[in-house]
Symmetry: C2
Subunit: 437 residues, 2 copies
Amino acid sequence: MLENYSKPVQTALKKVKINVGDKISIKNGNELYEGLLMPRTELGDKDSIVVKLSSGYNIGVKYDKNMKITKLASKQDSKIELEKPKFDPKKPNVTIISTGGTIASKVEYKTGGVKAIENPQELLFNVPELKEIANIKFVKVLQKMSEDMDSIDWQDIAKAVVKELTLGNAVVITHGTDTMHYTAAALSFMLKDLHKPVIITGSQRSPDRGSSDAGMNLICAVHAALSDIGEVGVVMHGSTDDDYCNFNRGTRVRKMHSSRRDTFRTLGDTPIAQIYPDGKINILSSYRKKKDIKVSADTKFENKITLVKVYPGSDPDILNYYLKKGYKGIVIEGTGFGYVPTHARKSWIPTVKKISKKIPIVIVTQTLFGRVNSNVYEPLRILYHQTDAINGNDMLPEVALVKLGHILGHTKKLKEIKKLMTKNLVGEISERSTISD
Amino acid sequence: MLENYSKPVQTALKKVKINVGDKISIKNGNELYEGLLMPRTELGDKDSIVVKLSSGYNIGVKYDKNMKITKLASKQDSKIELEKPKFDPKKPNVTIISTGGTIASKVEYKTGGVKAIENPQELLFNVPELKEIANIKFVKVLQKMSEDMDSIDWQDIAKAVVKELTLGNAVVITHGTDTMHYTAAALSFMLKDLHKPVIITGSQRSPDRGSSDAGMNLICAVHAALSDIGEVGVVMHGSTDDDYCNFNRGTRVRKMHSSRRDTFRTLGDTPIAQIYPDGKINILSSYRKKKDIKVSADTKFENKITLVKVYPGSDPDILNYYLKKGYKGIVIEGTGFGYVPTHARKSWIPTVKKISKKIPIVIVTQTLFGRVNSNVYEPLRILYHQTDAINGNDMLPEVALVKLGHILGHTKKLKEIKKLMTKNLVGEISERSTISD
């Protein structure tokens, strides 16, 4: 197991009976590192001892014969004893729909990697507080890291949600964070007549780590699922401290940091509420109230859709490629107010004009904040009035993509698509008083 | 000129001798609007009177026969008297290199649109304070809205900058805001041995508008150009108030809002400094100091480069398309830590493996904040250790694209490209102590 380490490192570790997975400390002068000894990858510096800190990060400490290496504990291949939760008729019923992701994984001490947990009930071992709030039922729909999901998974999740809501249970979905905002948007469009909370949560660090955000996120998610906010929400850390989570509307939220726990942000609006782990809910903006209306899953979806970003010198021929490949709709991430190169050496206008007569082209802005404006400048008037390009207003690029797939699942008529894409259906377009764009 | 308005609106306006371009007020009950009467576009509501407010926004006011419409002033087709600036040997010399954009435009009262100004000296009419700070020389290199620029324009700008710096002048570049951050990155890589400030500025509203940000941005830009910060910087409003500008490093800045004046943000770092219109400079982070070293323009650039964003269900065949079209390098905006769909129905791994043997594929994160991490999870190890994909670390997607074009302009050797793309050249990759990713 020490195989990729250099001879001197192997000798030093063997002398104190340390192997991969053991908890160790390394002291070198003023520096002190404590954590799990990780295996050395083939590519790394063989003289550098890799320690996984409690923060979850790996650190490489250059070996020095004067450093003091101590074994603190042996490798723990902890078998978790799963407790059978007792049903309490006085408590509400919450179903946790498990789909995979970091929140459904644990550190594998052999490799230092992260491995899926087989049984979602392991979450109750890591977060026993959940049992105090509600009777928890687990439904495992998927076991995927979210970068591997697609629209078929969204359909399966939507159906599972409707089933649980129809049984009268509140619903929390655990999910990988990478594409959580795409799923949140998909569920927002697919859950027809939704007037109940549907909460998606996850974690940036696996739940068996000391520094994991999984526990608080799950506790807040269960409180949110029992609230009167009848919308799809992403409930995740609101700050880097473990103080509260935000209830982010499913159509206004985006993953904005690769590693921070407060990665999910509501863009162009305030979150609907702050949810505290003790159950306190601090409402920040208006929302659809919970009502006893029957929800259904309207999961028709056209997955031949794509997202194209313009940049200086970009070639519009990419639109021809997608048309030829049978794509049914395109979202373009324009610059600023929603521009494409117009009076450029390679103008996008003739191609957009041609393609937008055949399949819908929706323009959003790559600035992420702010909205498309089809009138102020002459190139905007050319794009939005002389082609059939659709003004995506302030829809986030990812949300516009999901909405386009949803609309195209129901109609291929360009006029109808334009009408629906420019209309606010479930909070994806923010209103803006009487000021015309 | 009133042609697209409805008959009742035309009659009401003609009665008080109002035509397009006149300053008017409309009072209807408690509502009062003042501004310029705009022409009606063909597509709009013919009963809605379009007024351009002093904020620069158009507002549509529904006609009502009880409303009171008053003419405040006639159309001003203001001819600007250009003053010949007097040379003052005691003042420093600043060259403003004009490239177009909103800052080099004005409202055309006939159409309500925005039109280019022919002579950059008109800026001195709008911002007379500049003459108090320095002897201003104008050099017009381009007259483009920035969405129309490409790498040839960057090369022309780089050469003009070197020429002016070599003459001993400080340099400010006025530029459209939409792709300003791409140009800032391009100049950062193209200006070899730069140890002098090269400041890019622009405006979100044209300089002849009351609410324009052009004046303060220009004044701060000139102060920044005379500072001892020897780097390429985007100097634009730091807040929505007219209090200060930020000096954003050219390789860490991004346009983050379609309309706000504080749209440019330094991501993943603090701006280098706050620049106040009175000349005060508040340094916030470390920077390359001004030195008397000769700068040159190293403008070789490969423009067959592209940016691809992965999303749920995305098809890796797009990489084959770009290879076939003769592209020489691809930047992929991965999810989270820099993932592509791996164990998905459509895995990107085989295609990335194949293509990355032929042309460089650099992975950045679509979260914009945070960095790529090639080790924590198994799919990351597959992508970064079993294919030749290059870890883009915390480079912004747009910056990685520009850097790739710059590197490919100098070498097509994959090993050399990987070495340079993963090395911090001009602040595009932030350091991260001893913690390995």
